[in-house]
Symmetry: C2
Subunit: 405 residues, 2 copies
């Protein structure tokens, strides 16, 4: 059996970020930048005041001095002249410091009498002046390539005068649920059948990870129906299948798609919940369409998605290959020793009075309990052969609540 880490490494090995497109600044949030954003201007563009007050020559700013107010410079309306000896100009936060001036008299340190102003506290040269380029200079790479763009990045790119950004496209992911026994919600349910939860749970997960899901019609356990999916992947960046409920779960999916050009690896993974996983390429590895075959069990499918599909989506989106993010926590209840399969215990999370994150696994970890998975906040990671641990022991957790999953 393969380890979780080996399987993930093999999946990520040949995946490459999808191609790029130009998107309007407003649409770029959550995308991954495909090129560094170089500032097209210098910010601040000139020396500007950091405070409301009066611009003057430092030499004129001794306590008790009085100056002539020769003008005003609201932000966006720079003073056209120069400040000479004994003169000052009314100035505001963000206003350009007028020529000749090199100091700011704070409003609260000034007394205005008509066209004159009195210095109540001596000024210091350069104080309260933001130098041109203090934030960034024209040409600076203010946002790097390969970054998931935050609201702050969007603001910074705007300030650097970019109405458009070059970003990776959203990966398009086709989702194919298979099985004679399943129906979509609201449709007639076959005898002994169940309602398919995988298609739309995976579609939501793909959306949460910044991809665009395409939910294919459910395929019956029939080679022709499953094989038709090979025709549905033109222009798609990844095909995800679930189930194929026969002995050895994926047999039907593998045989039907192999007949349509799938180069496949079938793995037994030393993990729980989940175990069988298919990965391959419709076409040549690295050039065709990658295919990830998940178990049909909804809990297994979702846990495997967190471990394998989310990293694949992040890579396709333009980020470097990486495992899902893990957080430190302490156990809220003892756990028994683990067997040879990496376990992923569904657990609730809370913060204790000392601010530590406490993970309490559900006592029953049945992979058929979707409701319990939905109630979990995280997955406690248990390595193969991990020893029994008492309550309070340190563990690592994947926070489902933070992934939108």
């Amino acid at each position: 059996m393969l380890s979780v880490e080996e399987a993930r490494d093999r999946i990520l090995a040949d995946l490459r970020p999808v191609a790029v497109e130009v998107v309007a600044l407003a649409e770029a949030w959550g995308r991954v930048s495909a090129a560094p954003v170089h500032a097209r201007l210098t910010q601040p563009p000139a020396d500007v005041s950091a405070m409301d007050g009066y611009a003057l020559r430092a030499a004129d700013g001794a306590e008790g001095a009085e100056l002539d107010v020769i003008g005003s410079a609201p932000a966006g309306h720079p003073f056209a002249g120069a400040v000479g000896p004994g003169q000052t100009v009314r100035i505001f936060t963000g206003s350009v410091v007028p020529a000749g001036a090199d100091a700011i008299l704070l409003q609260e340190d000034a007394t205005r009498i008509g066209d004159r102003v009195r210095v109540n506290e001596a000024v210091r040269a350069a104080r309260h002046i933001r130098r041109a380029g203090q934030d960034f200079a024209a040409g600076d790479a203010v946002v790097p390539a390969g970054r998931r763009l935050s609201a702050r990045d969007i603001g910074l790119a705007a300030a650097a005068n970019h109405p458009w950004l070059v970003a990776h496209r959203r990966p398009r992911v086709a989702v194919l649920a298979t099985g004679d026994e399943i129906a979509l919600p609201g449709e007639p349910i076959p005898p002994g059948g169940i309602v398919s939860s995988n298609s739309h749970a995976l579609a939501a997960l793909i959306r949460a990870a910044g991809g665009t899901p395409l939910v294919l019609p459910v395929a019956a356990d029939d080679p022709a129906a499953i094989g038709a999916a090979a025709d549905a992947v033109a222009g798609v960046d990844l095909l995800v299948t679930t189930g194929g409920a026969s002995v050895g779960d994926h047999d039907l999916v593998i045989s039907a798609l192999s007949a349509r050009g799938l180069n496949v690896d079938f793995w037994q993974i030393a993990m729980r919940p989940g175990k069988p996983l298919v990965f391959g390429w419709l076409g040549s590895p690295g050039a065709g369409v990658p295919m990830l075959g998940l178990p049909g069990n909804p809990v297994s499918a979702l846990v495997c998605s967190v471990l394998f599909l989310l990293p694949a989506l992040a890579r396709l989106s333009g980020l470097p290959p990486a495992p899902p993010p893990v957080t430190e926590a302490v156990l809220g209840a003892a756990v028994p020793a683990n067997d040879l399969r990496a376990d992923h215990l569904r657990a609730t999370l809370h913060e204790d009075p000392e601010g530590r994150l406490v993970a309490t696994p559900f006592p029953v970890q049945d992979s058929a309990m979707l409701r319990r998975l939905a109630l979990a906040d995280g997955l406690v990671l248990r390595a193969p052969h991990a020893p029994a641990l008492p309550a309070g022991a340190a563990v690592r957790v994947i926070r489902l609540d933070r992934l939108g999953v």
Copy 2:
């Protein structure tokens, strides 16, 4: 001056969740449920096998027994007859347990010879059988109201046979940047002017929080231009303004909108960065359109958005009133004693070898440095009059990287 907490409480006091709509299951991810989702069926619908093997009567399953295989029941194809004494039916994970059978012989504990099967390990009644309703029963509230719907919730609602869900609408938020000195990216920049970063940074933040931003044209520092925003808020759930760069920052916005029916509170908040904040209602409190006036400085606007706008958006989206989430961390560098204003130190975050989150504030915390804010992973919270702290001390942090901000 008001505290951050008082200001937030006052903003949240009269905000109510926006109205509801019916959305397709696939579109419900990230929305807040407005009604509990009651299961429309029982899951599993009948007793089903948890394993591949043979269904039989426990009384017939002693080691060494041999039974007649009278049929097969793949998932989705229940066996129509009943299992009598000395009989068994081939069964698979998820298959309905046929009438008469009450035990499962695992495939790996069986030897098949033609139409007969030999028991190599004694069975136990009920073992490897998932009882009807083990996951949920028809009528159970499987997803509560008032929950931000995850991929797992979508899967659970699907399994409970719901093609549609009732959710709160996405809050529609109008964003109005004001100022003679600002231009949108790519447009002509006035003399001494800057490119507006607030409009699109706030639009991205609103999107990150599940809202729909409407970016209004930039309004010059002119009462008529600003007042026109009052006409633009029909059907909008919140108006956010930035700037109004004059003495007392918001004077122009307040006077222009007050003339158009704004009932306003203007607050000096004991915080940094930021300080002046406007909150009010265009129309009567609780019934008109709420209005939040942020500082014009981009760093102050974003920090105030995290503290006040995100909680407002969460409340409008259907969640209970709450502050932004905070995380425990330890300081990566000493910080000086704080003055009377709550401070929000821009900091990088990393995990140390023991798995603790380490927050290292930038040495210079100038509110004009948007680039530095974009490089920060979090805001270290410093209460008014907090004492100096050494490196290694415990602090609380708002993780910007987790908010999509």
